[in-house]
């Protein structure tokens, strides 16, 4: 892929209800912020990509209505929708359209307005014969997979709670984050309501209204317009079997994320991910998933994820801060969540992370997670690939 970079990012305030804005207005809030951050005007945009899971709002082809919020009228516009990976896949689609030589500056906006729909209903619209009755919705299907992961790897509920606490404490330094629980403790997580054993309320991500945008530029445009572009060093996607029962030990192996990460590391020249990466923004819908992803991403050996979080290796002051933004556990507008991962990783390279900045971050990882086990992996760097 020829050189492509992210030159600006922007996002809304994420909240359980954003009654003050319509869906196009929510999109506009993020788009406007990203353009301002990139120092470009709407007239500079060659194309737009949207990411959104339309059944969560009960809509069809929502780009037709919301596209104008992203300055899409009169421009090429496509919408990408792949479940939770919609946002990361939308970013990756933009990387391809720019690298193909079609465009110089492309805006990607992911958004979701869960308060105008019903996420559980949306997630229950799976295969009507096999899946709908047994594994519908994030809580139920994660309870199945987390139980298996806990049984095989011996992860404890305290270790999972540490992930939940880390996310919410990081979120307290992020003005955009939905959940603000700076003082959350492990005891409070363990005392929270059991949703589906072993997943508790505070182990789970919230449902948020929110939008996030990035500005993607060709190499020439990036060098001209941005002092410190976040170069796309690698972008990989892997999809998986459609039925949860057909996926071999989903969280234990998470072979999609593992293979996508290996391919991306190879392309980006990452040999020892824990040491070579400076910051990671990973898509963890549930606390236990972050532990499983540590293993799939090669940050530790199999079965060592619990010790990684206990040792503070992934805390803000650790060797590899994971989710300085507070992650999906703190804000989850689904169609935006993947864009947020990429935007937060780019923000770190840009050095515009404010209170959540990891000092001197020059290589960042972003991941997306969708449906039962779809995975996207993006590696960004301050140095353009040779």
């Amino acid at each position: 892929m020829s050189a492509v970079a992210i030159i600006g990012t922007g996002q809304t305030r994420h909240a359980s209800r954003r009654d003050d804005v319509s869906q196009p207005e929510l999109v506009r809030e993020a788009a406007e912020a990203a353009l301002a951050d990139a120092g470009v005007g709407p007239g500079d945009l060659d194309a737009v990509l949207l990411a959104n899971m339309e059944l969560f709002e009960g809509r069809a082809l929502p780009e037709l209505w919301a596209g104008e919020g992203a300055y899409a009228a009169g421009r090429p516009c496509m919408k990408v929708a792949t479940g939770g990976t919609s946002g990361t896949s939308g970013c990756i689609a933009a990387f391809h359209q720019v690298a193909a030589g079609l465009f110089d500056v492309v805006l990607v906006v992911g958004y979701e307005k869960h308060s105008e729909g019903h996420a559980q209903t949306g997630m229950a619209l799976t295969d009507p014969f096999w899946d709908r009755a047994v594994a519908s919705g994030a809580v139920g299907n994660f309870a199945l997979s987390v139980s298996q992961y806990v049984a095989e790897r011996g992860v404890t509920e305290e270790q999972a709670a540490l992930v939940a606490v880390k996310a919410r404490r990081n979120a307290a330094r992020n003005p955009h984050a939905h959940l603000q629980m700076a003082g959350l403790t492990v005891e409070e997580v363990l005392a929270s309501r059991m949703l589906a054993d072993p997943v508790r309320l505070l182990d789970m991500c919230p449902q948020s209204d929110g939008a996030c945008a990035i500005v993607v530029a060709s190499a020439e445009a990036a060098r001209r317009r941005c002092r410190r572009p976040a170069w796309v060093l690698a972008a990989e996607t892997r999809h998986e079997q459609p039925y949860i029962g057909d996926i071999d030990r989903r969280l234990v192996t998470m072979r999609t994320l593992r293979d996508a990460a290996r391919a991306a590391y190879e392309r980006a020249g990452v040999r020892r991910p824990l040491a070579d990466l400076d910051v990671a923004e990973i898509y963890e819908p549930v606390s236990y998933a972050e532990l499983a992803w540590y293993e799939a991403l090669g940050l530790c050996a199999e079965g060592e994820a619990g010790r990684l979080v206990e040792g503070g290796v992934t805390a803000m002051d650790g060797e590899l801060p994971v989710n300085p933004s507070g992650g999906v556990l703190s804000s989850n507008p689904v169609g935006a969540s993947g864009v947020i991962r990429v935007a937060e990783a780019a923000l770190q390279i840009h050095g515009r992370g404010g209170e959540r900045q990891v000092e001197g971050a020059s290589r960042a990882l972003a991941t997306g997670y969708g449906v039962y086990a779809w995975a996207d992996v993006v590696v960004l760097g301050a140095q353009e690939a040779a």
Partner: protein, 357 residues
């Protein structure tokens, strides 16, 4: 459009299932048929596919992340797949971008739509602005009617021409098509569905899947009988009908201008000999010709276009497949394939196909 290494995008194989008025099979079964046909046509196997781009619309399928239903049959397990939620021709264009970006050399593009599963036109109301338009019960048919009404008010002969056009397209589609041939008189006697549009002026909805294999053709490897995708363009118009001049498809003009420029063609004389538009209503063919600069000498929809059966989402990709077949058969050298979605042609995407060599 060329890759940095000089490679071009080739349409290596096409396959279709349908369109049928009501396919009794499940969506994965329909899609499997189309994919197997496209791979066989391209002399490729599943192992040769490096990446997949699918197109589907969740509300039309009643399934969240509706490409889940086809992941296995398109060969996307443990492979890169992305899904465009829009007309299927967009998936082909994005697949071409993946080839041009240099991340792979073979992309499988697949689109499906099954109008018989629900009242498709009623579902289109859910694509309308939910504040100002959806509460009025406005869907894509009503918008097409308003557009046709504007055209007919200024042009006394318009409705008669549309009846002629519809009858001609139905005849081109042949007697095996969903609706079958009918006379101009029958079109004019058919019930009004959205004044001044009559039932006979509308392409019959259908169930169908379409698959296209795209490959990178190295420089210097020209071959007679091969088809290249040399240009692409797409565009979104404002949503509100009041913000557009409904008498023109301005979005298509911008989209086709971009595609012609990418293909190195003069937008005022694109030198096409075939056009395969996605026209759901007869009046749209006139809008298409004017916006895309398709002159009288160009053959339009020789197989009846969507009047043979319009499967949602798959329509635009099936136009591309049809155009590729005709170029391969030697009956055309350069074609414009077109897909559209949204009310009154709000969104358009086109691709220029040319004979290789």
């Amino acid at each position: 459009m060329r890759r940095a290494d000089g490679a071009a995008v080739a349409v290596a194989g096409v396959g279709e299932s349908g369109p049928l008025a009501c396919d009794p099979r499940s969506i994965p079964e329909m899609v499997l048929d189309a994919v197997e046909a496209a791979l066989a046509d391209a002399s490729l196997g599943y192992d040769d596919v490096e990446a997949v781009v699918t197109a589907s619309v969740d509300l039309f399928d009643g399934v969240t992340a509706s490409n889940v239903a086809v992941t296995e049959v398109v060969g996307a397990v443990m492979r890169p797949e992305t899904r465009i939620s829009g007309d299927g021709i967009c998936a082909a264009i994005h697949g071409a971008c993946e080839l041009l970006a240099g991340t792979c050399d073979t992309v499988l593009v697949v689109a499906h739509g099954k109008a018989s599963m629900a009242s498709h036109l009623a579902l289109t109301e859910w694509a309308m602005d939910p504040v100002f338009l959806q509460p009025l019960g406005v869907g894509f048919l009503a918008c097409a009617g308003l557009q046709a009404r504007m055209l007919a008010e200024e042009d006394a002969g318009a409705v008669g021409r549309w009846a002629d056009l519809a009858a001609a397209r139905r005849a081109d589609a042949g007697s095996d098509a969903i609706a079958g041939p009918c006379s101009v008189e029958e079109v004019l006697a058919s019930p009004i569905v959205a004044s001044p549009l009559r039932a006979g002026m509308a392409a019959p909805p259908g169930d169908g899947a379409c698959a296209v294999a795209l490959t990178a053709r190295p420089p210097g490897a020209q071959r007679e009988g091969r088809v290249l995708l040399t240009g692409a363009g797409w565009d979104l118009e404002p949503h509100s009908l009041g913000e557009r001049d409904l008498r023109r498809w301005e979005g298509l003009r911008r989209a086709s201008d971009r595609a012609y420029a990418a293909a190195g063609l003069d937008p005022s004389h694109p030198a096409l000999d075939l056009a395969e538009p996605s026209c759901l209503y007869a009046h749209e063919e006139e809008l298409f010709r004017a916006a895309a600069g398709v002159g009288e000498g160009v053959t339009v929809s020789p197989g009846g276009g969507l009047f043979a059966g319009a499967a949602p989402v798959a329509s635009g990709l099936s136009r591309l497949a049809d155009a590729a077949r005709r170029i391969r058969a030697g009956t055309a050298r350069r074609a414009l394939a077109h897909g559209t979605w949204g009310p009154a042609g709000q969104a358009h995407a086109v691709a220029v196909l040319e004979a290789d060599g």
